[in-house]
């Protein structure tokens, strides 16, 4: 049965939003611990290239995703060493990671350009995928789409219902106090950064193994940065990350549908391609202009280095 146009648009929106959901949720956990990692773009690029290479060689997308996860953790470990152990400025270290990751992924990925992976079968959820319109839109997806929903639930539960999550938030709000009562601030922040890196790596893997499925230099195309903006958009609340990511996903696929539908618009394709970036700016403005909301919700120690001896 041919899915309806609405169903197809929703489907594509969910797919386009998924790497953003996964990456932004990882970054959210990192930021909740008080660490601002601006390296998401570089981590996603490395995750994408690692996942692509491993999937191409092994034929197993699962191994590919694991490689993306591993690459993401390795990358974020570099950031953690610089910003947590060496107490470097987090903004500068994050920028360094992005520059490094984008460059290194291009370097590693050169031999893989112009190769493609087979597209993967979807996992249709029994019964649910038969629901008209919504079935195709939400329940005929790749496994990582379902993973992003489980991740959302897990992150929300972890942060607000688990004891460890409480400690993590305490570290982000008041590291000195958390240290005083005996929590290992630096160790907890390491864990949070590594988790964020792992998720960004998976986000990148989704792009190169399932979404396009190929590797081209620059294919992450700002999605890492948009994920960072999404965390602000969501005012550091997990559920809103999902809403925001799907809004951006919608902005990203608008172009595709406008061009594919045969509508003769006099708008050049570059203007449509600029939509997600312009949307990011507009959304940031709308959310940020209420300073009180931002100050109330952002982790109090975000971006500030912590040294246990001081």
């Amino acid at each position: 049965m041919q899915p309806s146009l609405l169903s197809s648009i929703l489907f594509a929106t969910v797919v386009a939003g998924t790497p953003l959901v996964i990456t932004a949720l990882g970054e959210l956990v990192t930021e909740k611990s008080g660490v601002l990692n601006l390296g998401a773009e570089g981590i996603m690029s490395m995750g994408a290239v690692a996942a692509f290479a491993v999937t191409l060689h092994t034929g197993s997308p699962l191994l590919g995703v694991l490689a993306g996860l591993g690459a993401g953790m390795a990358m974020s470990l570099i950031f953690a060493v610089a910003s947590l152990t060496f107490m470097a400025n987090q903004v500068a270290s994050g920028l360094a990671l992005s520059i490094f990751g984008v460059g290194l992924s291009a370097f590693i990925g050169k031999p893989y350009e112009s190769q493609a992976l087979p597209s993967r079968a979807t996992w249709d959820i029994p019964l649910l995928h038969r629901i008209p319109v919504l079935g195709h839109a939400f329940f005929e997806h790749q496994a990582l789409v379902y993973f992003s929903w489980i991740l959302l639930a897990a992150v929300a539960w972890f942060l607000y219902r688990s004891r460890t999550g409480l400690v993590l938030r305490a570290v982000g709000e008041a590291p000195a106090a958390a240290h005083a009562v005996g929590y290992k601030v630096v160790r907890i922040r390491y864990m949070a950064v590594l988790f964020g890196g792992a998720m960004a790596g998976i986000g990148g893997a989704f792009l190169s193994v399932f979404y396009t499925p190929l590797w081209v230099e620059g294919m992450v195309a700002g999605r890492g940065w948009i994920s960072l903006a999404l965390v602000v958009f969501a005012t550091w609340r997990p559920a809103r990350v999902l809403v925001g990511a799907y809004l951006f996903g919608g902005a990203m696929i608008t172009q595709m549908f406008v061009q594919g539908s045969g509508m003769h618009l006099s708008v050049p394709s570059q203007f449509l391609s600029a939509l997600p970036y312009a949307a990011t700016i507009i959304v940031l403005v709308l959310i940020s202009h209420n300073r009180a909301t931002i100050r109330l919700n952002s982790p109090a120690s975000l971006g500030q280095p912590f040294s246990p001896e001081a």
Binding site: S93, A274, Y277
Partner: protein
């Protein structure tokens, strides 16, 4: 037994200047390891990457040619970074400068007016400033994070350039290549060293470094920005306007990046294409940091970063390695610098 950082009673002045050297040494060392891992001889790799590019007059001229836009962007960015204004959109501001200055060259094609080049440079500065004014306005008026807005504007500027060269500004005689016509000779910066491509933009960059030094170290506004950057509350208490800091920081970065854009289209590129800059705007952030946010340092680190670009070209040609190896080196350099900076305020101690 465990190594621990211990706070120095006072920041080490010596380490402030030694840490960039340490970072360069670490980058070279890890580069040689990388060559080894790639199955190339490390000494051969070192020679091809770091020495080959600057063997002759032409190579040295190319080094200064490539360093010019890097120095220009970096000195502008340094003004902002000193005030904690994180403009990371210099690449987009560079492109918009190229569009504004280059647009003038296309509009007045064939004009022999001696005012054309100066107007192009002014237009370029203005173009970059307009693009930088957007994040400055959004930051001061709506509190929007300038890191993200300035970066999103890079992608938008790239798409705008792509549209121009595929559409309205495409060279009608260019066999449908996405590029504008070549600029008229009166719209091209004069060569200052015969037999090379080195042009007068180098003088502009040196002028900008001098102006930057005067602003940062001899002007009250520069002092205010430094205070605001190092101790935000102290700055606020002293009545320094945070808004003004944002505007000065962003506009300085935009103006310099815009001029850098003109120096490329009216220099080695000679037209507007989709490949005006190999990421100069991003590399300039590294130049600014490695140069300690000081003009003299930026001069040296600009040359170093230019060498990394040229080394990448050589590695591509003689070692069959992808050109992006340049960016790997650039990223490594910044990491090593950020890490070795810990020794300015800390020293290592064995802890039992």
């Amino acid at each position: 037994m465990w190594l621990k950082f211990e706070q120095r009673p006072e920041p080490s002045r010596a380490m402030r200047y030694l840490s960039p050297l340490l970072a360069v040494a670490l980058m070279v060392a890890s580069g040689m390891i990388l060559f080894h891992l790639l199955g190339k001889s490390p000494t051969e790799g070192f020679k091809v990457f770091f020495l080959n590019p600057i063997q002759d007059k032409y190579g040295i001229a190319e080094l200064f040619l490539k360093a010019t836009p890097l120095m220009l962007c970096a000195v502008g960015l340094a003004v902002g970074f000193r005030g904690n204004i994180w403009n990371i959109g210099a690449e987009g501001q560079l492109l918009m400068g190229a569009v504004a200055g280059g647009g003038l060259a296309l509009h007045f094609h064939g004009s022999a007016s001696p005012l054309l080049l100066p107007s192009m440079i002014a237009a370029g500065a203005l173009g970059g400033m307009v693009w930088a004014a957007i994040p400055a306005f959004l930051k001061t008026r709506f509190n929007a994070n300038e890191i993200l807005t300035s970066l999103m504007l890079v992608y938008i500027a790239e798409l705008l350039v792509s549209w121009l060269v595929h559409g309205p500004w495409m060279d009608p005689d260019g066999f449908n290549f996405p590029q504008t016509r070549l600029f008229h000779e009166k719209a091209i910066l004069p060569i200052i060293l015969q037999g090379t491509r080195l042009n007068a933009a180098l003088f502009i960059a040196i002028g900008a470094l001098v102006a930057g030094w005067i602003f940062m170290n001899r002007s009250f506004a520069g002092y205010q920005m430094k205070v605001a950057g190092q101790a935000e509350n102290a700055g606020r208490y002293a009545g320094f306007s945070a808004r003004r800091t944002v505007w000065i920081g962003m506009l300085a970065g935009g103006a310099m990046a815009g001029i850098a854009g003109v120096s490329e289209v009216a220099g080695p590129v000679g037209q507007i294409t989709e490949h005006i800059s190999p990421g100069y705007g991003f590399a300039a952030m590294i130049v600014a940091f490695v140069g300690r946010l000081e003009p003299a340092g930026i001069f040296l680190s600009g040359l170093l970063m230019a060498l990394l670009y040229m080394g990448g070209e050589q590695a591509q040609q003689y070692l069959a390695l992808p050109y992006s190896i340049s960016k790997v080196f650039q990223g490594l350099l910044l990491f090593f610098l950020l890490c070795s900076d810990v020794f300015i305020t800390h020293r290592l101690r064995w802890k039992k």
